[in-house]
Symmetry: C2
Subunit: 415 residues, 2 copies
């Protein structure tokens, strides 16, 4: 089967001059890959008619699908629409349905429709209008024999909604793309190369129509299984079986499936099991609490934090014993155990966790280099500690240590 090729064309001086980073094209690449369309080039040009028309012609030679973003604003430096009309040799005309949509958009927000906004409903007659559910500039789909030009707004959330709901399904239909099924498996606490080693036998035995991708990010690695076929139920059942096998290899590292990061998955568990959490964080300086409280509704299970950054505060406010600090130092197992136990008792929560370490660049000693971090988990049954040896980078250490605590909670929760 012939592979469908795509070119992503971004239009706008603001991208060219570096005023904003283009994150759209990365997202589009991933989504197109998921339905089996291969991106062969990405191009960015400025707001200049000759540049835009040349880019259209070049892209048409190289690709089947040309996905255009940007240049659809209502001001005169936005040229995508007139350029498309010129390229497809057609007029620009008021599109009644588009006008109704833009009118409704403004009405629903209690705002006046200006003449400039009205102009957004003027479209090239050769295009099929694609509704913009979250903005005022409609998308434009042009069929040209086997090829497609699709113009979308550059505003990320508008583009993503349009692409997901309307453009990707339309592309799948036009090119009779195979049925595709994705499943993301989220792992934490194991590096990419160790994970690859552990699952090598399973990976090598994957059937040819099911592909595996490793998607590493801070402290975790996601695995994405993508199956290509003709029957969705069959792909789903095959994937379920493969995941059952995968669990035999690396089950303890898997914390979830799909889009939810560890702090969301963990929050759901705490809420469902009616467990409460408090934190004493030193070297992570608030970042661990921030991860927890970035989740809407976290106040149902997270009660509070003490950040005893200074030695004095560790003693006077949190209540770590002066003897412990003097004998073992702030970055030590005895201290971290006290921190986790004390915060749990003081805040009357089911679980207490703690961090203490040398985030860097200063503060290192010969036996405690930058990147040395102790973390602890405490509940009424047990106290669990872990020593981490992280990096030389302060911010990275803060983030990796915070992720490690979330994983420690996950592993240590009462059965």
């Amino acid at each position: 089967m012939k592979k469908i090729l795509a070119e992503l064309l971004t239009i706008g001086d603001e991208i060219l001059y570096g005023q904003i980073v283009d994150t759209n094209s990365q997202w589009m690449s991933v989504e197109l890959d998921k339905i089996g369309i291969k991106v062969v080039r990405k191009t960015t040009v400025g707001d200049l008619e000759s540049e835009i028309l040349t880019a259209f012609a070049e892209a048409e030679k190289r690709a089947d699908v040309i996905l255009i973003t940007g240049g659809l604003g209502p001001t005169s430096d936005d040229l995508t629409k007139p350029c498309l009309a010129k390229y497809f040799n057609c007029d620009l005309k008021m599109h009644d349905e588009a006008l109704a949509e833009v009118t409704e958009f403004f009405k629903s927000r209690g705002r006046e429709l200006t003449e400039l906004n009205r102009q957004q409903a003027v479209l090239p007659t050769a295009c099929i209008k694609i509704t913009n559910a979250l903005g005022t500039a409609p998308g434009m789909w042009f069929d040209k024999g086997d090829k497609v030009f699709m113009s979308m707004p550059g505003v990320p959330h508008e583009m993503k909604k349009m692409m997901t709901d309307l453009v990707l399904p339309r592309l799948a239909k036009k090119y009779q793309l195979p049925v595709i099924h994705h499943k993301v498996i989220r792992t934490i606490g194991i590096g990419e190369s160790f994970l690859a080693e552990k699952i090598a036998a399973w990976e090598n035995a994957l059937p040819a129509h099911i592909k595996l991708a490793y998607l590493p990010s801070l402290g975790e690695v996601k695995l994405r299984l993508t199956g290509f076929g003709t029957s969705l139920p069959q792909l789903e059942s095959e994937t379920t079986q493969l995941i059952e096998q995968l669990i035999e290899y690396v089950g303890p590292f898997i914390y979830g499936y799909g889009d939810d990061p560890i702090e969301v998955v963990l929050g759901r568990t705490l809420r469902e099991r009616k467990l409460t959490l408090s934190i004493a964080e030193s070297c992570t300086g608030g970042y661990l609490s921030h991860l927890i409280t970035s989740v809407p509704g976290s106040s149902e299970y997270f009660l509070g934090t003490m950040i005893p950054y200074a030695y004095e505060i560790k003693m006077r406010q949190l209540g770590v014993k002066p003897e412990t600090l003097e004998k073992y130092g702030a970055v030590s197992e005895p201290t971290i155990i006290e921190m986790a136990n004390i915060v749990r008792a003081k805040f009357s929560t089911d679980i207490g966790v703690a961090t203490s370490g040398i985030a860097g660049p200063g503060g290192a000693t010969p036996d405690k280099p930058v990147g040395t971090v102790w973390i602890a988990y405490s509940d009424k049954h047990q106290t669990v500690t872990k020593k981490l040896q992280l990096t030389k980078d302060r911010l990275l250490n803060i983030k990796l240590a915070s992720a490690a605590v979330l994983n420690l909670i996950r592993q240590s929760l009462p059965k």
Copy 2:
């Protein structure tokens, strides 16, 4: 004077398929703009010889300077080097100085030089080798009449170092670019459009050879003045005068100049003035403390934080009076005043600050919609409060409220 035009060419399947976001090209655009070179196109192609050679030829037609990143790794799917040799019709040969550099690089890290690493010193004979101070793949500069092809590694910190130290100065010399002087003025606590309104008269009176750019980011707006001329001292003195005038318009909003964000500038002030800080943060959930502690050396002035997320913890642990909470609620001026005063007293610091609000999406009441946030500053002379009405977005509210507290501290410090 003829404007020098540049094309940025990124090579690599990992960018094309969306496995990583290309942040290099945005940085390069900004740096080129600073020395007066205009980016006219950005192109990304995959690891495929025909695609790469075509992209070289197309770019040469459009631009004077072709800046290439990526495809320089030691593995066989990295094709930039052989493609450059082919395009410039020359051999690939071991480059003695490059070999010495890569050998030294491995030696200094106590690592073995493998045959694969040795191959990184093999370069096209037509190029001038450009040293990679932070990695093993050298840069390659090719003069072609008035035009330049410059190939650099895709690893961001290697590319940035090479570009800053070696490539930009070389470009400025080759094209006899004008002397350029930049000055960044950092403002906080005023939106872009209000700022523009306040400084309109000043902006309109700028001389033609000095340009102004607005660079807005979360909670702050940077102004960049760029002067073009022939004498650096003269540009510097002109800029200094312009800034003196600017201060008359918006002095109270200016917190610094150059690269340092507010948490760094504020940290420097606290350290110099030997002032200590503690925090009681509720709705910001740790993010404010994270900003403060992201700065190396912050333990010199930041002593600790209490995050009394739950109502109970606000009373029992922090010590807000039950009557205050009952009568006015957690999100109120009386409560925020107590929070800031209490944390300052408990932690024995010079300054105490506090946040309490409805980050959303839940928790709103008719008179306290999502985005209502109270912040307070307390020292021995005064307690200052401020009510913010922010957005509907939880994460944005957390970040904007944290920035607002940093600004409140800056404004309220004892004279």
